[in-house]
């Protein structure tokens, strides 16, 4: 892991913590951005953590770009020593895999896909060496995921699965991006899962849909009344496969203001996790479903 600092014009510094994705790179990103926030450097206007990199926007009338760069470099040393323990939350997100809406959409854009003769999820299962789509869904919904970045569009979470690299699912993006993606599509590109927070263009493979809105500018949805964006970096997500009946019921519950996402506060320690990944994940899921 070699940190690379770079100016983005005269108002941004882009910091690449690592060229490749890993939980270590993500945690270093998180500790560095937290440290920047805590240090309250004058002139900083935006602190944006991403998967294995982050970006600071600043007012160069207040702080000179070179001085800003020195401030960030001095923070890196402290972040290296950070223990990588975070207080966060684990959230269960229901997913209706192979739903009719993403299916209709993916059929419309078949000519932009690597494999026009199979669906996105059949393609992803095959190139990741799963015997069946069911086995693929078991893997996708089995181990939990870290929200490693929120962005692209309002409130969209990028998620990285909490398994060792050999078990990471990897898929390419569409050959040419679609001009349409249903709202709340559960997607996949590179090594990242996502949920499309709004309807729009997209290049990620489409596996299913969640009934649970994650962005509400009107703030009418009960659990988004305090803030319009649901996710923040560091959240842990566990998918729960559901069928059509459960999906319809959840949609009705959301509309009636009855839907309450299952959320538990948890402590996550990176070193303990790495020592026993499956055991640690089992404990996280236990915390989610326990009382």
């Amino acid at each position: 892991m070699k940190t690379r600092y770079c100016f983005g014009g005269d108002e941004h510094i882009f910091v690449e913590v690592d060229e490749e994705m890993s939980l270590d790179a993500f945690f270093k990103t998180l500790s560095m951005t937290n440290a920047v926030r805590d240090s309250q450097i004058k002139g900083v206007t935006e602190i944006c953590p991403a998967n294995a990199s982050f970006q600071i926007k600043f007012d160069s009338d207040v702080i000179r770009p070179d001085d800003m760069l020195e401030e960030l470099k001095s923070i890196e040393a402290g972040a290296e020593k950070s223990e990588h323990v975070i207080e966060t939350r684990i959230i269960e997100i229901p997913v209706f895999y192979r739903d009719p809406w993403t299916h209709e959409t993916l059929m419309r854009f078949r000519e932009r896909h690597q494999d026009p003769n199979s669906t996105d999820i059949e393609f992803a299962a095959r190139i990741n060496n799963f015997e069946t789509v069911e086995a693929f869904i078991d893997a996708h919904s089995g181990a939990p995921w870290f929200v490693s970045m929120v962005g692209f569009v309002a409130g969209l979470p990028f998620m990285f699965q909490m398994v060792d690299r050999a078990r990471q699912i990897e898929v390419p993006k569409y050959l040419r991006p679609r001009t349409d993606t249903p709202k709340l599509t559960v997607g996949y590109g590179g090594c990242f899962a996502c949920i499309y927070s709004v309807r729009g263009a997209g290049g990620y493979q489409m596996f299913g849909i969640t009934p649970m809105p994650i962005f509400d500018p009107q703030q009418k949805i009960s659990y988004l009344s305090d803030f319009m964006v649901f996710f923040r970096p560091g959240d842990i997500v566990k998918w729960k496969p559901i069928d059509r009946a459960a999906y319809d019921e959840a949609v009705a519950d959301v509309a009636a203001g009855r839907f309450a996402p299952l959320i538990r506060n948890v402590t996550f320690a990176l070193d303990e996790f790495k020592a026993d990944i499956d055991g640690y994940n089992a404990k996280l899921v236990e915390a989610l479903h326990g009382n």
Binding site: E46, G151, G190
Partner: protein
């Protein structure tokens, strides 16, 4: 009720200076693409420089006023008319209750800013009145104006007199052909030396896909990449990176073919490499580029960028001194 929208033009939205502080959640800053013109429009009608105005692109709206108002139109040369009678741009004028403000054909530039004394009164959303259409956030019901909309005017007007005018030499619009100054970097090292030279030597043209999210350019040579083993999670295309943040003004080149410069409604991040960033002083000019405008990207250093930044502030100070 104070302004009835009879026709809305191509894309007319409420904008102020923007909504900083939420980019880390994918909510971009939004606000006027040409903030110099937006500030000047507000100054002309005696508003705070950051009051909410209407931003209109290529083709102006038709607006019926139901109360007397002081109005100014700046930015693109999109000549305003009151009941069909021409009015001067960059100059404040009175509109009386019952009169209709509309616009002649666009002569130069792309985006005009219509300021009304008191400001356009829409609710604040996360501290700003700017419209972010992709997120249906802010502005008038989170969207561009439509015929039949009724806009309220704020009560904070200063009682400025009509006839205030920004001198000709301060009416800033890009030259055609245009030069955009950039600081190279970010993932510049992903392309070959020859590709880097070509990128800066080629004349690009603004593509039809140019909006508040970003401006696309075509016509230059495809970029050649330095060969690599794709880093884990980046994706197999040579233009892919592990999804990261996109600076405002950053230049991404998906597949190495057509550069896109992100602007005020930017997507906050993604998986395409960027080869540099347009300097802050030139960002206003991008919002005034019409499709097909020949454009060159000129590499400058940080000192030049900061000097240009100060020049832009000095220009704005001259506008302030003229009008206050």
């Amino acid at each position: 009720m104070a302004i009835n929208v009879i026709s809305a033009g191509l894309a007319t939205s409420v904008q102020d200076l923007g909504r900083p502080g939420y980019y880390h959640l994918g909510i971009p800053i939004s606000g006027g693409m040409d903030r110099y013109a937006l500030r000047a429009a507000n100054l002309l009608v005696g508003n705070d420089e950051g009051a909410a105005v209407l931003e209109t692109v290529f083709m102006g709206p038709e607006l019926a006023f139901t109360e007397d108002a002081l109005v100014a139109v700046t930015g693109a040369d999109l000549p305003p008319r009151i009941d069909g009678e021409p009015r001067e741009g960059w100059t404040s004028f009175t509109v009386e209750a019952g009169q209709v403000l509309d616009f002649d054909f666009l002569k130069a530039g792309a985006r005009a800013y219509i300021a009304v004394a008191g400001g356009i009164d829409v609710p604040l959303a996360l501290g700003s009145r700017s419209t972010y259409t992709l997120g249906a956030l802010g502005g008038f019901e989170g969207r561009n104006l439509q015929p039949g909309d009724e806009l309220a005017i704020g009560s904070g007007g200063s009682g400025a007199a009509p006839g205030g005018s920004v001198p000709q030499h301060l009416r800033r619009l890009p030259d055609v052909p245009t030069e955009l100054r950039i600081i190279t970097g970010l993932y510049w090292h992903r392309i070959t030396e020859a590709a880097g030279r070509n990128f800066l030597d080629d004349t690009w043209k603004v593509a039809p896909e140019a909006d508040r999210i970003g401006y696309r350019f075509t016509g230059g040579q495809p970029l050649k990449f330095v060969p690599r083993q794709p880093p884990f999670g980046a994706g197999s295309d040579p233009s892919n990176i592990v999804d990261g943040c996109y600076p405002y003004g950053s230049i991404q080149v998906p597949g190495g073919t057509e550069p896109i410069v992100l602007h005020r409604d930017a997507v906050s991040g993604g998986g395409y490499f960027m080869l540099g960033t347009v300097i802050s002083a030139d960002m206003d000019l991008i919002g005034q580029l019409q499709p097909n405008t020949p454009t060159k990207f000129v590499a400058v250093d940080m000192e030049t960028a900061l000097a240009a930044r100060h020049d832009r502030v000095a220009l704005l100070n001259e506008v302030r001194a003229t009008l206050l």
